[in-house]
Symmetry: D2
Subunit: 157 residues, 4 copies
């Protein structure tokens, strides 16, 4: 990829997905995978494994795992929102912008015990902006049960 | 330990610490250790390792790790609060009560990038009660910098 | 109404609506009115008047008004949830139960400036329970624009 | 005051206090008064009157009043934070900047019933910045009892 060339939307998305997969070790530690990442939405999948267990009696997700996957889904959605406000950027400029993004605050509402074979997090933007974006996230299990809600505010520039 | 005998405060604390260490795999996956857990307070320590990395460029904690350690510190504090409201209980009764406890909601405020060799989470109760407790948590690094605040509401019975 | 007689669902709802209207002065100070309050949902309406103005330049709702109407809609929804878990109660018992209900915590997300001729708040329960209920609330204006989201945790017994 | 002249810190503070008092009707509807507003901190006072009552049985503050006074204290603190990041501004420029400020989100934790003759809200900045500031607020009554905590994120430019 020519580093001085303005990136297409697809190239940006592929770049983010590659960074997520190859350079964010915590995502691998948990086993999170991006299953959707484009203008129509974000979806992250996390298969159950015993390392995610927070409650030894009930075999359910640790609350911190729930928070982590919700923050990750919201953060990816915030990147998509940031991209919408970017002029044409090349790879170096994009990386610089992305490295300045961060979560400002997040609320998680735990609705029911995190039981399941797989967990699916989705996100949408509820407050758009060039500097700050607010996202709402949902976590469901593979049986379609709603495990948790999240709401988070992101610095996007 | 005689399972029918009422537990002393010290036995309860030792039991919780043992469960935390031996039966909550996610705590080990991250590397969290209880460094204090008694009526005067709760402290959890987490040494940095690359698996916790959320941002490949800045080498900082994943926001989900911050949320996980804050929720864990608050949850332990909520157990101490629950114990205060318990009549004398034996081990089986205690385990039953503890297994019904859960996080209802949590807010995390990310104050600065999570850089450091070790991270220390502390917690205090701001709303006491026999059914619901609200805790405030703080995360600092080994240099004393304040990384994040948390506020969480726990079901304690 | 015979005070010893078990209340019907309709009598409970009428009683709550009367208390809201006649004995909660702040609701009148703002001008909030219950436009729906039954098992199918809650709706509160608030017509604009200059006393609600928080920003003199833009003529928009004070953020505290937004918080107040969202908390009120969520609180009424939590009462409906509490009623579902109540055995048959007479008026005195009901009043005693209701007086113990309270908001534990609330998050408000301000999405756009609060402009309009009238504001409509709605609520739904996202975590049900006999002791704690969590509600999500929305505020729209009369043009259908979405002004704010709320999420609140209520003690219901 | 010469509208083209750069404002001193004192002139800015006096201007904000005058707008608060004379042009924000909701502040008067409640009866909120600024008792401190300078670089060392913010304090707002609200004397009890029956119009603030949310619970007719216990004679306590409506939860919306608590949210309103906390948001107001935090918003004033965010203005002070914004001023720190402003170059020399004249009155017109300052008004333009201030009119773009807004609350993004807020969490309120209700600790105990809002009883008292007077209520005092204070605020401090926990995350500083030229675009976004996060504040923590506290509400006490005249007997020194702690009624509520708040945490809010503000757009400051």
């Amino acid at each position: 990829m020519d580093q001085d060339k303005a990136l297409t939307a697809e190239e940006l998305q592929n770049h983010v997905a590659a960074v997520f997969r190859d350079h964010m070790p915590f995502n691998q530690l948990l086993g999170m995978k991006i299953s959707q990442f484009d203008q129509s939405g974000v979806e992250i999948r996390l298969p159950w494994h015993d390392g995610l267990m927070g409650n030894p009696i009930q075999k359910i997700l640790h609350g911190g795992v729930t928070a982590a996957i919700l923050d990750t889904a919201g953060g990816l959605m915030a990147i998509l929102e940031a991209v919408r406000h970017m002029p044409q950027v090349n790879l170096v400029e994009f990386q610089k912008k992305i490295s300045r993004m961060s979560t400002i605050d997040m609320r998680v509402d735990y609705l029911r015990p995190g039981k399941g074979e797989e967990f699916i997090a989705t996100a949408k933007v509820i407050r758009k902006g060039s500097r700050v974006a607010v996202c709402r996230m949902e976590l469901h299990n593979d049986a379609g049960e709603h495990i948790a809600f999240g709401t988070a505010t992101y610095m996007v520039s």
